[in-house]
Amino acid sequence: MASLPETQITPAPVAAAAVILPYPETAIARRFFPPMPQATHPLLVKLQGFASTVLPTAFMLAFLLAFWSLACGPDSALPGPAKVWEESHEVILHPFKGVEFHGLVPDIQDGGDVGIGAHIMKSLARVLKGYALSAVIGVALGMLVGTNKYAFRALDPLFQVLRTVPPLAWLPISLAIFQQAGPSAIFLIFITAIWPIIMNTAVGVQNIPVQYRNVAKVLALNPAEYFLRIVLPACVPHMFTGLRIGVGMSWLAIVAAEMVQGGTGIGFFIWDSYNSSLLSDTIVALVWIGMVGFALDRIVGLIGRLIARS
């Protein structure tokens, strides 16, 4: 920066002591700052942020729809978007047909003729039961295998073998055990979701940093305290990685299971629409399945973050 001109200080004449000297011009000039850049309106900033996150997705969707319409002309076997709307707008617009809400509790009509949302709810209820079971048992087994090296040696090979069995391969066994469609679907969910939960929890426990274990040793924590104060909080991130993979897999499995078994649920809906040659209904169901699976993943992720923070 160039040095500013020295302020001229004129000594006041002794006789005219009462005269007030003007404040030096140069000093006044120094007090004017260059104008600040115009601050953007906070609402505008927010809007910009929103647009920059949402617009790419919107463009991608528009592109996808355009591509789909172009690729599937009026005569193609796979219906284009316009045809899907034309054939399935009833399904799209009335997802909760045959469902009565008592407050938040849905009451789903018996019989097959219900909306797609009702089928989704049936499937979700099954997934919830099977998944809750696998979460509890999976975390417990993961902890056992992670803390005890003999349990690890005994069980790990078994887990490694069983986890590669595809969900549908369990179906005959599950039907043989339970003799009923309902419980065997839940078992299928359970057996599909449990492996990543066990594996990740075990890894989390095994990877507890040695520093934390040393702290526990120096404080002479008893086993219960060690588990509650160190092990559990330390392996929350790994545990929720497993729980997240598990929920995704259980959603995959339920659709497959219901397709084979029939009755109710989104898997049945797809199978039914396929048998009735309603391919556009199937496409609507695909979108629903994707959205619900995405939501499940996010919900489990969110719970994990909330727990890790508390």
């Binding site: 520093q211 934390y212 040393n214 702290v215 040793k217 120096v218 404080l219 002479a220 924590l221 104060r229 160190i230 909080p233 330390a234 929350v236 890790a308």
Partner: protein
Amino acid sequence: MKQRSYLALEGVTVEFPTKAGKFCALDHIDLNIEKGQFVALIGHSGCGKSTLLNAVAGLNKPTKGVIFLDGEVVDRPGPDRAVVFQDHSLLPWLTVEENVALAVSKTAQGKSKAEQKDWVMHNLELVQMTHAATKRPAEISGGMKQRVGIARAIAMQPRVLLMDEPFGALDALTRAALQDVVMELQARLNNTVMMITHDVDEAVLLADRVVMMTNGPAARIGEDLMVDLPRPRQRLSVIDLPAYGAARSGVIHFLHERYRNPAQAA
């Protein structure tokens, strides 16, 4: 039978099993530390300082030899030998206050909840950390974390305070500030302390006695130097004393002449 020192290491040998056979880290270490003595342990990297400290902490067992603390044999870790770890080792899911409280809950048997809380806050105050009591370790600086680590250790009212390079990861200014904290605490509490350091000035400034270890493997105690400086100490008033300079040059000669850094010698 002769009177044993407060903390007595008798013929402590530590060997680690490795693929290439046994690795002898420490070879027949004899060390006697009196109650209220502040001992600095100094030596080149990898000579076995942490191994020795961890043996006293009970985190690793000597292959041979015995460690006595106040007449009792040390055979497991325990809160009577609090450790300040080099990397602070605060539990990240607990607040500063909860980290100290966890230690207090294990050592303050018979105290009421309110008394325990007061004790936690009192110890945080000793290291000037009450302002961050509700913060998580991730939200405070490295120097602050180490203060909390010290508070956690002294709140346990240990019989021996063990510090493994407590300030090794800190910048020079923060380090000096924490040395002042330790000096102040030592003047108030007169703990028995065993502290590992790489820093000659830190050793001389803080300790009553500097124990110098030879280079490993099979490290031994090479020299044992008493630091004859008055207590309580103040950084500026002691560094010009002749005893300070003498102690300092003694340690430096040991480290850089008699037992040079093995990495440099090679």
